[in-house]
Symmetry: C5
Subunit: 269 residues, 5 copies
């Protein structure tokens, strides 16, 4: 860490202590059961991307740091109820500078967080560039898969950190939905088999979006090996199911996973 970064961290620390005296009691309450929100079905997942306005950099650093501290307070306050992940998209995606992935039992709670975020001193410098919602569900086709495939799918992913996150929205064609469940199941088995070589290095999570957005699915990935991820997608483009996918990406969102403090530091400098 260079001296400037250290200085910022120190300064932020002082701010946090002061603010902490006030907000600490509420923070002491039980935080959202993050593990549950990230694994159970029936949870609403939201991907919200923002661009940081030019005028942000025109403020002096002290002002920026005090605004980021208020921003930190908003995130921490809502983390009592919902799970919030943060990503730096600037320099990796042309569509946004930062992204929030939010998991909540009710979409109203996510809305309240985003309203508070935009009403916040830091929020005034953010322009929304995209908002996508989906809901988690139990696996649809897996129960009908052969036992060997089911077993193969249980391979755990590597324990290494996975710094890159990719979000790919998907829309299936009307022809896809017109197929009977069995035909779709056969193709989804091909699709799933194509993913097997990548289970270790690529984590994946699926959100169902029909009706909640102009999409059918949001697919979310984490990896430390982008070349592997490229190979995975290339494999998926070659199975029959891909021909029923008029929208894949548009946008493809790519960024790096950041903690709240890391993101604040990136924007404080």
């Amino acid at each position: 860490m260079n001296p400037l970064a250290s200085w910022i961290t120190l300064l932020l620390g002082v701010f946090y202590v002061c603010v902490g005296l006030v907000v600490a009691p509420s923070l002491a309450e039980a935080a959202a059961d993050r593990e549950k929100l990230l694994t159970e079905p029936g949870v609403y997942g939201t991907f919200a991307t923002f661009r940081l306005n030019d005028s942000w950099m025109k403020q002096d650093q002290a002002t920026r740091i005090s605004q980021l501290t208020l921003f930190k307070g908003v995130v921490e306050q809502h983390r009592e109820k919902i799970a919030i992940d943060l990503y730096l998209l600037r320099g990796m995606s042309g569509h946004a500078d930062l992204m929030f992935r939010v998991h909540a039992a009710e979409l109203r709670d996510t809305q309240q967080f985003l309203v508070d975020l935009q009403g916040n001193a830091f929020g005034k410098y953010l322009t929304g560039t995209g908002l996508m919602h989906g809901v988690t569900k139990k696996a649809n086709y897996v129960p009908g898969f052969p036992d060997q495939l089911k077993a193969d799918l249980k391979v755990a992913s590597d324990p290494w950190p996975k710094p890159y996150a990719i979000v790919i929205p998907v829309r299936k064609s009307a022809d896809w939905w017109a197929l009977d469940q069995e035909k779709r199941a056969v193709m989804m088995r091909e699709h799933t088999e194509a993913t097997l070589p990548y289970l270790k290095t690529i984590k994946r999570k699926l959100y169902h979006s029909s009706g909640l957005d102009d999409l059918d699915f949001i697919t979310y990935f984490e990896t430390s090996k982008l070349e592997d991820f490229h190979s995975l997608i290339l494999s998926l483009e070659q199975v029959r199911e891909f021909q029923y996918t008029p929208r894949f990406g548009h946008p493809t969102l790519m960024g790096t996973v950041k903690s709240l403090d890391e993101l604040i530091e990136a924007f404080a400098q």
Copy 2:
């Protein structure tokens, strides 16, 4: 309600009383027959969405409250003639911050409301992001349905509050309109049957838009269970009629139903 919110409500109250002395007489006149406008055929429905400009938040709170009071006056004045519903879209839809649903006997009356709204002190901070019109009509295909289906459709929706509203514009293909009425009726029966399991938890209203906009229909939904709504749309994507629907959504608008006072409070903070 937190102390800040209470204080705002109090302040707004004082303003309302002052303003009330002036506008009260006109408000005393008979309000628009909202029930009639919301149920009868031949009524024009308008969906107008707006983004709240960044500069809004840069004003101090007292100024914002006085402007919101004028805004409240405009809505109340026009409610004498037309029915106006309000929705908070910020944090739920990437396309807008707020939405008005207006029902009027003449589209000119809706135009006058929107002109007054934009000419208003609060209106200067609004940028229109979408405007869609449709007209209500008697059910087209229902009279030809079997008696059992007709009976099933009469199930009333749950009395519980339905906080979420979704608007999905629809455009049918030229191939759809080229089908004879009978073939379309068969497919619309399939479509309708797919909706039966959701009649209780999802309220629905249909507007006909051909010629009034680049659409054929605007479909409006209210629900408290978004996962049910997702299931409904998934079912509708699987009936044959969906293959004649090149546009479904784009945008899908989603928000929470708000009273005028609730919306004002959200923007006053």
Copy 3:
């Protein structure tokens, strides 16, 4: 008319008298033969839409009125040569706040008007959002229609005022133009027969645009019954010719017909 509107009208009157002393002589010259421009073939029709910038409302009313007076002068001056109709789109169309329909013997004259308009004090607050051109021609298919149909087409439209105007740009497919004239004539007869029930309540005018714009036709309508207009378009969507129409609308422009003074009053308030 409310007292504020009356006051504006009075103030505008005073301005007009003063300005009139200067511009009157030129206005005394013969005005464009509006009737001829609106009925003859070989006339160029232009539809120009504008949005009124936010900064317009930030000026005080006296300044706005003086600028609108100059605007009025520009329109009146050019009316000596070209026919200019005005429409309020705000609140009815999401694409613009106002629209000019101009008829001219030479498109250069229309260009000069629009250049003068934008160079004008009021013009600085206008942002162009669309510009479409077409030329009027003698009816192409009508001469070959059966006598009964020709007679039916001669029904005059109602004498009642028609406050609503709708503009729908149209692009035909390459397949349409590849059909021989006879096949197109059969389909245009079907199309024309579908319009018969609406001749009384809906006025229509056709402009040919191929080469002058990314369109083949601009269709212009006036009506007092928007529900009738919806029914007309629904009928037209059901004839075979519609299947050769990849673009119909996009945008559909809808507004209310206004006199120059009415439009000025709307923007002065």
Copy 4:
């Protein structure tokens, strides 16, 4: 010419004389061989369109005139090497206010002109809205045409001034390029025959763009009779080759041909 215009011309004259003392020596050098650039193959043609920002009109006239004088200097300096034509698009095309058509032996020279233009005091008020490149080539299909058609094509266009210019970018389908040369030649003969009735009143120039832009061709036209031009395009839409043209226009650019002084005068007022 009205008195104001005369005054501007006078003022510009004074500026030109002063500036002339400095730039005259370089202007004395041989100008680009315009005739050669406009007729030979292997020349790069560029169509650059710009919008004039709102802030331009907010300056006083003297400032604007001095900036236009510097603009004039840039154009004249580069005319030593490249051919520059100017067009007023405002009021005729919704896509731009002015257009430059540049012919150069090397695209770098065109780039240098446009970089200097945008770095110029006047250039700061310009926002680029489009840039298209093509290269001139010897006629591809004509050598194989029958002698009579070749002779017909030699008809010179009318000597009358042709005030209107139209630019239509064209993209052919992959199916077109997959046809063998002979089949394309047959269709291009049909295409060419359709143009014969318009050779006198419409001048045409073709640029090949594949690889230099997201286009295959840029077609450029000049005419004094826009109705004739409309008829020409209508004829071209009816030959088979048109079915292999997924993009024709988008945008169609239309404007009036202006000399450098005429354009300056238009923007000085």
Copy 5:
């Protein structure tokens, strides 16, 4: 070089010396192995385009030069780890003013460069207009080509400078990926044979993008003969493989290759 340019160069020189005293030590460290990054597989290539804001030119020249010096420092610092090429797009591409091509072993390093660039004093005047990523891989189809074709491909390109660079993003259709590898190989052989006549005058580099962006490939070209490049693309449009390419360009980016100093000089003036 004109006197003004000389003066700028001198001034920049003075700045560089001053800055050099501070940054020289770090610059002394080993620079990224550019040759390796530009030739090996498994390297991530990024194409980032930016527009220079209008406000840039409104600063005085000394301020601009000091900001460009800081910009130079950022590029040089990151060149220790990644390979950075620069291009002037203004006047050649309507989509951007400048472009960076970055090669890095890890996309995080490219992200850090772009974050630092935008956080820089010069970066505040840049607006991102596009960001595309790909990864280099060993040739896919070449190993299966006949020996003669392999030998033909080994022709080295001309040693002459190639001032023009063109970037064309490519997306293949689902039908392409559904073909078996052998059928694709036959078509890629045709594709490759079409490029043979241009190997000498056009340098080419391929990046694989599936999953990393809404693309399958980014193709990069350098040439001194744009007419040759046009002929190459025309040839490629005529092979069967092109029919499986729904996106070719959109945007086509074209510019001139510049050294860091040349680019700085262009923006300092």
